[in-house]
């Protein structure tokens, strides 16, 4: 394809896209003008109905729980896909193709090591807080899970290795799987003890308490463990298992 033809094709596409985009912008509602009935209803009734102050968490885990279940399994399937592909590749190369190095290349900078080791513990506490308070304050399982992942990433950046005998990669795989299964099983509890899948079956408790909002804290915990496990397993695989070097690394 010649350069002029390419430019012509791009010009037609670009102008068409710009016209459609501007046309679409012309039909947008005014800034801050929201007329969605479902959103307005949830904004008014979610908090009193579910005794949890975080309306977003109530919406994602209670009213739209099935959406969240789907999203969670998207992440689960993506992590499993990465694992399958990378391990297949490594199996073809031979297990000793990339031997574990004794000193990770990230461990050379003293500033990085000290900063990372100072930040790891506060980051871990923040992650646990965000997961545990997912039904009270902004945050929840997904956000907290990623913060927990960052905390363990900082441990790696600090140059420390996890103890060999604990086999952390296997623990993370187990965490990923049990988190995903946990959310689905909490949903089954809705069938057994209430009317429908993912319906709340626990007492709501009192406003603003750590244990309140029915099943939402449990959902947050399951999603937090799943997200942390999935992201760490993927990172561990990309880092050739040096990061989470279990017995098989």
């Amino acid at each position: 394809m010649s350069r002029t033809l390419r430019t012509a094709v791009f010009a037609v596409g670009g102008v068409g896209f710009a016209v459609l985009l501007l046309w679409g912008f012309g039909g947008l509602p005014d800034f801050g003008d929201f007329t969605g009935h479902y959103g307005l209803y949830l904004a008014h009734h979610a908090v009193p109905q579910r005794v949890a102050t975080e309306a977003v968490g109530v919406t994602t885990f209670d009213y739209r729980g099935i959406d969240t279940l789907g999203e969670e399994f998207i992440l689960f399937a993506a992590a499993v896909g990465v694992l399958a592909l990378l391990r297949l590749q490594r199996g073809e190369e031979g297990a000793s193709a990339e031997p574990a190095r004794e000193s990770p290349s990230t461990g050379h900078s003293e500033t990085l090591r000290r900063t990372a080791s100072a930040l790891a513990a506060p980051c871990l506490v923040l992650g646990l807080y965000v997961v545990a308070h997912g039904h009270l304050t902004p945050g929840g399982g997904f956000q907290g899970g990623v913060v927990l992942m960052s905390a363990l990433l900082l441990v790696f950046l600090a140059g420390a290795r996890f103890r060999r005998r604990t086999k952390p990669l296997e623990a993370m795989e187990l965490g990923e799987a049990s988190g995903a299964a946990g959310f689905a099983l909490i949903g089954l509890g809705g069938i057994l003890f209430a009317d429908a899948y993912l319906e709340n079956f626990l007492p709501f408790g009192d406003f603003g308490q750590l244990v309140s909002g029915g099943v939402i804290p449990l959902d947050n915990l399951a999603v937090g463990v799943e997200v942390m496990g999935a992201t760490l397993v993927v990172l561990g695989e990309f880092l050739d298992q040096r990061f989470l070097s279990g017995g098989d690394a």
């Binding site: 965000v130 913060v147 990172l235």
Partner: protein, 85 residues
């Protein structure tokens, strides 16, 4: 629209352009991290603290980390002459 929201929108516009304009991949990862943080501020200014938290953690921690890991792996393979295919 408040002044904070307008400022956040402008910061995101500048940040996105800066990510595209940066040539060197490791520097680009760092600029992308700052851009992710600006995007988090934008979401917060528009009253979506949940999304802001996700965006800050994913955009300014997880994404640059993934890019750095990928770059270091590619460079190591280039140094040792290994190929994946």
């Amino acid at each position: 629209m408040t002044a904070v929201q307008a400022a956040a929108l402008i910061a995101v516009a500048i940040g996105g352009t800066a990510v595209v304009a940066t040539k060197d991949p490791p520097r680009q990862a760092l600029v992308a991290g700052i851009f992710g943080f600006a995007l988090g501020i934008l979401f917060f200014a528009f009253q979506a603290p949940d999304v802001a938290l996700s965006e800050i953690v994913v955009g300014s921690v997880a994404l640059p980390a993934m890019i750095f890991v990928a770059i270091s792996k590619v460079r190591r393979q280039a140094e040792t002459g290994e190929t994946d295919d």
